[in-house]
Each structure stands twice: as structure tokens, then as C-alpha cells.
């Protein structure tokens, strides 16, 4: 059983969650996850704080406390029961603790992925799109058939991203696809499987 302790400052901030009704508390968890994904959103927080009649800093610190809780919970690889126990022992009422545990359970996988992304790494492939075009004329040549394969890659880390437009001819497209396909075969190879076993 993993022992999980959140630092006292965050504990206190979490308790302010009890000042709102459970539905609003659930909303807080959703918003906290959004912050995790996309970085700070001061205007949204200001608007929400106004609706609650809270100063924005209070809302910000409460959301940050939820984020810290989720992050530490992922790092500690904690089980839901243990998380609930830790929260109630920190002074949180049981139905709020249940709520937080449920919200954590839903977003656990995503937070894990986001935490992996924050390491200094090459940009991740966020999105890609393709288009097949045929050039039929240009300024220098008035009629020809020239097929182009266009690729749109969106790369980025967390919130920042860059868009790249590239083209390839059909033989290159086939070659690239074959290469990447053989890359996929590699993860199933005995060598790769051996490495995974050792690393664990």
C-alpha cells in the first residue's frame, strides 16, 4: 500500500473545494485538467471566479492544488482506495474525496501521457493531413501531368505547435511508407521484446 502525502499548503488549498457544491467541484477538476493540457488561461479563470464571486487568485490556487494532487498521484502510482484514504485523513469530507478520486481515475491515463511529454524531447506529431494533387500547367510549361503528394504535419510540445507543409512524389511516398511499416515490425521483434523485459 503506497503512502501518499500532499504538502500542507496544497492540502489547505484543496479544502477550499468544500466551499462549493459537488457539481461545481467536478467542474473544477475538468478545468484543472484543461490547464494541465494547455497551460495557464488567466481570462477564463477570471470569468469563472467572477461567477463564483471569488477572487481569481483563490480559484487559481485551488485549481493548482487539484493539478498537484493528480500529478503526485500519477507519480506515486497510487490505487484509488489509498488515494481516498489519504484525502479523508487530510481532512476532506468523504463525498468530496470520492469525487476527486473519480475525476482522477478518468484523467489518469491522460495525465501520464502529458507528464511524459514534458520531458526534453523532440516535438511530437500532433496531427497530420494529406492531399493528392496533379499539376496540369505552370508558367514555364503549359501542359503536363505532374502528380504531387502533399503532407501537412503539425508538430509540437504541449501547447506550442508548428505547421509544416511538405510534398513528395509517388515513388518517395511508397518508399517512406515501406520504411515506416518496417519500423512497426521492429517493435514486435525478439530483440525489442528482450529489451522491454530487461528494462522492466
Amino acid at each position: 500500500m503506497a503512502v501518499f502525502v500532499l504538502d500542507t499548503q496544497h492540502q489547505a488549498q484543496l479544502l477550499t473545494l468544500q466551499a462549493v457544491d459537488p457539481d461545481t467541484a467536478w467542474e473544477f477538476c475538468k478545468v484543472a485538467l484543461q490547464l494541465f493540457r494547455g497551460g495557464p488561461q488567466p481570462r477564463m479563470i477570471e470569468k469563472a471566479a467572477k461567477k463564483l464571486d471569488w477572487p481569481p487568485e483563490k480559484l487559481q490556487t485551488t485549481l493548482e492544488a487539484i493539478m498537484a494532487l493528480f500529478k503526485e498521484a500519477v507519480k506515486a502510482e497510487i490505487q484509488p482506495e489509498d488515494l481516498q484514504a489519504s484525502l479523508t485523513s487530510a481532512g476532506l469530507q468523504s463525498h468530496y474525496a470520492v469525487l476527486l478520486v473519480a475525476a482522477f481515475g478518468e484523467s489518469r491515463q491522460e495525465i501520464q501521457t502529458l507528464l511524459q511529454d514534458t520531458t526534453f524531447d523532440t516535438a511530437r506529431l500532433k496531427a497530420f493531413d494529406w492531399r493528392f494533387e496533379v499539376e496540369i500547367a505552370s508558367r514555364t510549361i503549359h501542359s503536363e501531368i505532374k502528380p504531387h503528394f502533399l503532407l501537412r504535419l503539425e508538430l509540437g510540445k504541449q501547447a506550442a505547435s508548428s505547421v509544416h507543409l511538405l510534398q513528395m512524389d509517388i515513388p518517395t511516398l511508397i518508399h517512406v511508407t515501406e520504411e515506416l511499416e518496417s519500423a512497426l515490425q521492429d517493435v514486435k521483434s525478439t530483440h525489442a521484446k528482450k529489451m522491454m523485459r530487461h528494462a522492466k
Binding site: 500519477v74 507519480k75 502510482e77 501520464q112 507528464l115 511524459q116 514534458t118 520531458t119 524531447d121 523532440t122 516535438a123 511530437r124 506529431l125 497530420f128 494529406w130 493528392f132 505552370s138 508558367r139 514555364t140 510549361i141 503549359h142 501542359s143 503536363e144 505532374k146 502528380p147 504531387h148 503528394f149 502533399l150 503532407l151 504535419l153 508538430l155 509544416h164 507543409l165 511538405l166 510534398q167 513528395m168 512524389d169 509517388i170 518517395t172 511516398l173 511508397i174 518508399h175 517512406v176 511508407t177 520504411e179 515506416l180 511499416e181 519500423a183 512497426l184 521492429d186 517493435v187 525489442a192 529489451m195 522491454m196 528494462a199 522492466k200
Partner: protein
């Protein structure tokens, strides 16, 4: 309609090439026209004819230069439109270029038309071209954020060639699932392309 046409000045320069003081023999004229065609198709080509004449005939230098310009325009404009040999011949006749000279020009045009069109086809703009792909399979063990990750991650690098000739590369990482999705999408793209090629 897209009609073959070069400027009136260039018509005059082509007519001037009929002069025997410029080209004493048919063979000499033929070498000249071949030289011009070669210069359009091969990069960094050095004109034989101009370097040979350099020392001797100062007064013929200008007509030769003008002849190069006019022939280059004619070849490029004709190749751009994929003009037939006969059409070029008729055009030269219409602007009063001597028959013997016209024949040499059209013969060389016919011989080099495909090469000229190939060169014209490469002039243009577009996006950087992917020339090759490199990949690597890594196993992420841990980081300062997470004590245990244990996930495979692919690193892919695309080699690119910009339209101005600059070489570059684009690198990114993806999970196994993401790479599967990418490959699946590319294979679908290839199927679509093949279907269109057959249609």
C-alpha cells in the same frame, strides 16, 4: 489560343544568323545551335563558340550574343507549348529566316524538345520535398517527472529539399499507436493514388 511568338527584335537577330561572315559553313552554324540548346539543358555549360571567337572577331560578337538570346527564346517558348516541328518551321519561314538555317534549327529543336521540357518542368515553386526518412525505436525508461515510464517511442526524421536547393530535416517522435495510424493513413493514400492512376 496560345500561339508561338518571340519579339520583333529577336526575329531580326535570327535573320542575321543567315550571314556567311558569322558562319562560314553549315557545320559551323549547326555547332552553334547545338551549343545554345546544350546551354539551356545542362547547368554551368560553357559556350564553345564564344570562347573560340573571343580573340579574333570583335565586330561579330554582338550578333552572336543576340543570336544566342533569340534562339534561346525560340527554343523555350516552343518547348513550353510543346510546339510541333512543323509549327516551328512555319514560324521561321514567316519571319524570313533562310531555309537552310531554319532546317538546322528545327532539327535540333526536335532532337532536344524532351530535354527542354524536362528543364522547364523543374522551374517553379512548391513545398519542400521529402527525399528520405530515417527512424529509430527508443525505449523510454524514466524521467524526473515519472519514476517509471517503460514505453517504446519512435523517432522519425524526414529529410527535405527546399525549392531553392537547401537541404533540411524535420524530426518528431510518436508512440506505437500513433505510428500505426500514420502508416495506415499513408497506405490508404497510396491506394487512392493507384485508383486514380488506373482511372
Amino acid at each position: 489560343m496560345d500561339v508561338l511568338r518571340i519579339s520583333d527584335d529577336q526575329h531580326q537577330w535570327l535573320r542575321a544568323l543567315s550571314s556567311e561572315t558569322l558562319f562560314a559553313t553549315e557545320a559551323a552554324f549547326q555547332h552553334f545551335v547545338e551549343d545554345v540548346a546544350e546551354s539551356l539543358v545542362v547547368p554551368n555549360h560553357i559556350f564553345r563558340i564564344l570562347s573560340e571567337r573571343e580573340a579574333k572577331e570583335e565586330e561579330n560578337k554582338l550578333p552572336i550574343h543576340q543570336g544566342v538570346a533569340a534562339l534561346s527564346s525560340l527554343f523555350m517558348e516552343a518547348a513550353k507549348r510543346n510546339s510541333a516541328t512543323d509549327a516551328v518551321g512555319l514560324y521561321l519561314q514567316a519571319i524570313d529566316v533562310a531555309d537552310s538555317r531554319a532546317k538546322v534549327i528545327t532539327n535540333i529543336y526536335t532532337a532536344r524538345r524532351a530535354d527542354l521540357r524536362k528543364v522547364l518542368s523543374t522551374v517553379g515553386f512548391g513545398f519542400p520535398q521529402i527525399t528520405d526518412v530515417d527512424w529509430r525505436l527508443d525505449w523510454t525508461i524514466k524521467s524526473n517527472e515519472l519514476p517509471r515510464i517503460n514505453e517504446p517511442v519512435y523517432r522519425v526524421k524526414l529529410e527535405t529539399l527546399a525549392t531553392n536547393g537547401g537541404l533540411g530535416s524535420l524530426a518528431f517522435s510518436l508512440s506505437v499507436e500513433e505510428l500505426q495510424e500514420l502508416v495506415w493513413s499513408l497506405k490508404n493514400a497510396i491506394k487512392t493514388v493507384e485508383r486514380h492512376a488506373q482511372a
